[in-house]
């Protein structure tokens, strides 16, 4: 494999991990604009663990993700008191606070950045990215995932049917943060260097953008979004100056034509029907009851 292809694949896989970091809170109806902050927490924590204690970089990444998960679970208590646009603003502020924390933490180099000694290559990143996808895809098929859709669509009805809405929202937020943390660890251990500038609002917004582009109704949407977002600029490499402009136009057009994202439940069901399976569990799903 050429270095170029390998480089693209690494970025693609990392984007997949970040996509699911943003997908989880969105699946519960929350927009997290501070995901870069959680990526940073995982990156610094895991780098510190493997640099200072010589822990295996893989364990350090998972550990960093777990700590980020717990941290987000605690942070969720005040942050999730806000709703809608205010929640987005609160997470944005949280991201900014975390970034300035990284800038001022001298143990991990402050503004100068922090070199990471241990290395994780393409294979390691691939294994973890696939695991993140599979965990998400599995959870989405459980009763936890079923209830999460209900929480997203109608909090009041979910509550009446016994779903602890606050707990589901906090868990979605924290699972996303945990994945962000793992992704941050992988990033640091692959590029061997982390610096606070990486964890800016721009980073958060581009991940949100490609997740929305892919669609959040199904578990495949974020994956597709990450693929598009990573590969399209490469495909457009021929027209060097224009490629980002073309890319931006593509995004705007997609958002106008398909505000619900590229893949939705509808397409997924159509595909399942095509392959003869009733993913819904029974019936062709096509018949309508005659009604007078």
């Amino acid at each position: 494999m050429s270095g170029y292809v390998e480089g693209i694949l690494v970025i693609l896989l990392l984007n997949v991990v970040f996509a699911y970091a943003v997908y989880w809170p969105l699946a519960a109806g929350q927009l997290n604009l501070g995901v870069a902050g959680f990526v940073g927490v995982g990156a610094y924590l895991s780098a510190y663990l493997s640099n200072e204690y010589g822990i295996s970089p893989y364990l350090a990444c998972i550990g960093g993700g777990l700590v980020t998960f717990v941290f987000a679970l605690i942070i969720a208590v005040p942050v999730l008191r806000t709703k809608g646009i205010y929640l987005a603003l609160a997470t944005f502020a949280l991201g900014q606070v975390l970034q300035s924390l990284f800038l001022n933490l001298e143990v991990v180099g402050g503004a100068a950045g922090y070199p990471v000694i241990a290395y994780i290559g393409l294979t390691g990143i691939a294994v973890i990215a696939v695991a993140v996808f599979l965990v998400t895809a599995f959870l989405e098929r459980t009763r936890f995932g079923l209830n999460m859709v209900a929480v997203h669509d109608d909090e009041a009805v979910s509550d009446l049917f016994g779903v602890n809405v606050r707990r589901y929202q906090a868990l979605a937020f924290a699972i996303g943060a945990g994945f962000a943390g793992i992704g941050g660890g992988l990033y640091g251990h692959h590029f061997s260097y982390i610096e606070p500038q990486n964890y800016s609002i721009l980073f958060s917004i581009s991940v949100v953008l490609f997740v929305l582009l892919g669609g959040t109704q199904t578990v495949l949407g974020p994956l597709l979004g990450a693929v598009f977002f990573t590969l399209l600029p490469e495909v457009l490499r021929g027209s060097e100056e224009w490629r980002y402009a073309i890319f931006a136009v593509f995004i705007i057009v997609t958002m106008i034509l398909r505000p619900q994202g590229l893949v939705t439940t509808f397409e997924l069901r159509a595909v399942r029907r095509l392959f003869g399976g009733g993913g819904g569990g029974g019936g062709s799903g096509l018949g309508r009851r005659a009604h007078g």
Binding site: F138, L139, E140, R141, T142, R143, F144, G145, L146, N147, V149, A150, H152, D153, D154, A156, V157, S158, D159, L160, F161, G162, V163, N164, V165, Q217, T265, F266, R269, G278, G279, G280, G281, G282, G283, S284, G285, L286, G287, R288, R289, H291, G292
Partner: protein
Amino acid sequence: MADAPVLRLDGVSKSFGGLDVIRNLSFEVARGQRTALIGPNGAGKSTVFNLVSGVYPVTAGRIRVNGQDITDVPSRLRMSRGVSRSFQNIRLVPHLSVLENVLIGQTPRISRLAEVLYPVRLVRNSHWKREAMGALERAGLAELAGSQVDDLPYGVQKQIEVARALLGGADVLLLDEPAAGLNPEETEELRERLRNIADQGTTLVVVEHDMQFVGALCEHVVVLDFGEKIAEGTPAEVRREPRVIEAYLGSDAE
């Protein structure tokens, strides 16, 4: 608590910012009984359901289910305490299929982590799905299991709500206008089905404007007007009450 009424309201009042919507309302529903809660538009029928299911707190009074005071029990725990409901304005989950919406009805019975993490949307023939399919079959909706709910006619969506409400294992089922949007044959099917449900031991409280439906299904009727109980008794008894006739004359329902 075998002799306690399944549902009992004692002096329940509710006001919204000074507007008294329910005033000192008391009634009992005996186990296995089919009760109707009727009254003109705006009488407060849906509000009674909202108070019993905990959507709003009461302003005064007590609500008991199976003899236990649930007035201060959080809404989330009330279905597992025995009251389930459907909604006047359809509240299905639009991003779930018909079958998955019915699966949501089982949530009040789920408590163990293993059940929460059970891949109910992946396993084809689980007992959860079989149970939900059974409920759909009885409602004549089996062939719609995989459909998206918001494509379906209003009356069908109402029946999915009833099926969902049934699976929570509740002792008393509050149904808010379950026959709305149904044609005469479908209304009759629904009535038969509700009768079967009651025969199997579930107590029914039904809000319904169709008086023929009420007369044919219910043994007991509570009549509300401006948030007050103005009559109570068998369908034949309340129909003779002068106050009921008066309340209904000035309104659009018969």
